[in-house]
Symmetry: C2
C-alpha cells in the first residue's frame, strides 16, 4: 500500500483532465461535434496522448476512471447464505454508489447521451465489458462453468439489462428517485418472474 508517487498522480491528473474536457465539451456542443483534437487541446496534452488513456470519446465520457472492475470483489463480500440473485443485487447496488457520489456529472453524461444516439454502439460495448466480469463472479459463486452453464451468463446479462433500463428511467424521470431504488424495483420484477403488470 505504498502511496501513489508523482508518476501515478500525474497520470490520474491527465486522465481526469481528459475526462473532464470531454464532458464539458460534449455538454457544450454535443458529443458528435466534439473531436478528439479539441479534447486533447483543452486538457493540455497532444492528440496522440488521448489514446494512451481512452479508446475513444465515448470511453472518456463513460469511464472517467478507467475500468475499475469492482463487481467481483463486491459479490465475494456478500453473505454466502444469501441466494445468488439477492447477493448479486446487493453487489450491484454497491456499484451504484459511484452515481450517488457524483450525481451532477452523471446527470450531465446521461443528458449528453440522450442527445447522441450515434454514440450508442460504444456505450453498449462499455456496458458489456463489465458483463463478462459479472458472469465470471457469478459462476464462481454458484460453482458453475461460465461457458457451459446457462445461469451465470444469463443472470449477468439480465442484471446488465436491468441496470441500463434503470439508468434510462432515472434520467427520464428527472432524477427524482434514487437510481438504487429504481434498480431495486427492476430486480423485484425479475425475481417475481416478470409477471404481467397490472394495467391502470
Amino acid at each position: 500500500m505504498t502511496e501513489p508517487g508523482l508518476r501515478e498522480r500525474k497520470k490520474q491528473g491527465t486522465r481526469a483532465a481528459l475526462a473532464r474536457a470531454t464532458l464539458d465539451l460534449a455538454v457544450e456542443h454535443g458529443l458528435a461535434a466534439v473531436t478528439v483534437e479539441q479534447i486533447a487541446a483543452r486538457a493540455g496534452v497532444s492528440y496522440r496522448t488521448f489514446f494512451n488513456y481512452f479508446s475513444g470519446k465515448e470511453e472518456a465520457l463513460l469511464r472517467p476512471d478507467g475500468g475499475d472492475a469492482t463487481f467481483g470483489p463486491h459479490l465475494r463480500d456478500q453473505d454466502p447464505a444469501l441466494p445468488v440473485l439477492e447477493a448479486a443485487r446487493r453487489a450491484m447496488r454497491a456499484q451504484l454508489q459511484a452515481f450517488d457520489e457524483d450525481q451532477e456529472s452523471w446527470r450531465q453524461r446521461l443528458a449528453v447521451l440522450a442527445a447522441a444516439p450515434e454514440a450508442l454502439p460504444r456505450v453498449l460495448e462499455i456496458g458489456s465489458t463489465g458483463e463478462r466480469e459479472v458472469a465470471d463472479a457469478i459462476a464462481e459463486r454458484t460453482g458453475q462453468d461460465v461457458d457451459g452453464d446457462l445461469y451465470p451468463a444469463l443472470l449477468a446479462a439480465v442484471l446488465g439489462a436491468a441496470f441500463r433500463v434503470s439508468l434510462g428511467r432515472w434520467h427520464a424521470l428527472g432524477e427524482t428517485r434514487p437510481l438504487a431504488a429504481l434498480f431495486d424495483e427492476a430486480v423485484d420484477v425479475l425475481a417475481a418472474g416478470l409477471p404481467a403488470p397490472r394495467t391502470h
Copy 2:
C-alpha cells in the same frame, strides 16, 4: 400488393450481393481485415454505394435483409388471453425461424464474430435497435406507456439479453441443440424468477 418491379428487384440483388460478399470475405480473412472497398468490389458496385445499403461492415454481416421489423406483428398475432411474457416468448420464437431457415449462414456469421471482438460494439447496437421496437409492441399489449412504465422496457431488454445469451450458447455448444430450445430454456429460468441453480 403490386409485384416488386425491376427497380426493387435490383436493389434486393445488390443488397444480397453486398451481404454475401461481406460474409465470404469475413470468413476468409476475418472481419477486421476486410475493407468496405473489397466488399464493394466483390459485389460489383462502388465503394460509395455500399453505404447506401449498410452503415458499416457489421450491419452488412448481421442484418443482411435490412431491418425488417417483425416482432410487433408477431406479438399482435398471439392469443390475447396469454400472459404477456408467454406471448412475447412465442413472438420471439417466430423470429428465430430465420435462423433455422438459414442455419449455415448464421453458423458462419457467429464464427466470424467469435473471432472479431473488435466488432462487439456495433453488434450490440444492432441488437438493441430491435429492442426499441420490442418495447413498443409490449407497451401496446399491456396498455402501458413505454417511457413512463418500467415493464415494457425491462421485458424487452431482458428478452434481448436472453436472446444474446442463447445465441452465444448455440454457437458454443456447436449447434447441437436448436436455438429455439436454448431460448426457451432461458425464458423458463426468467419466468421462474431466476432461482439459484442446483449446483452439481
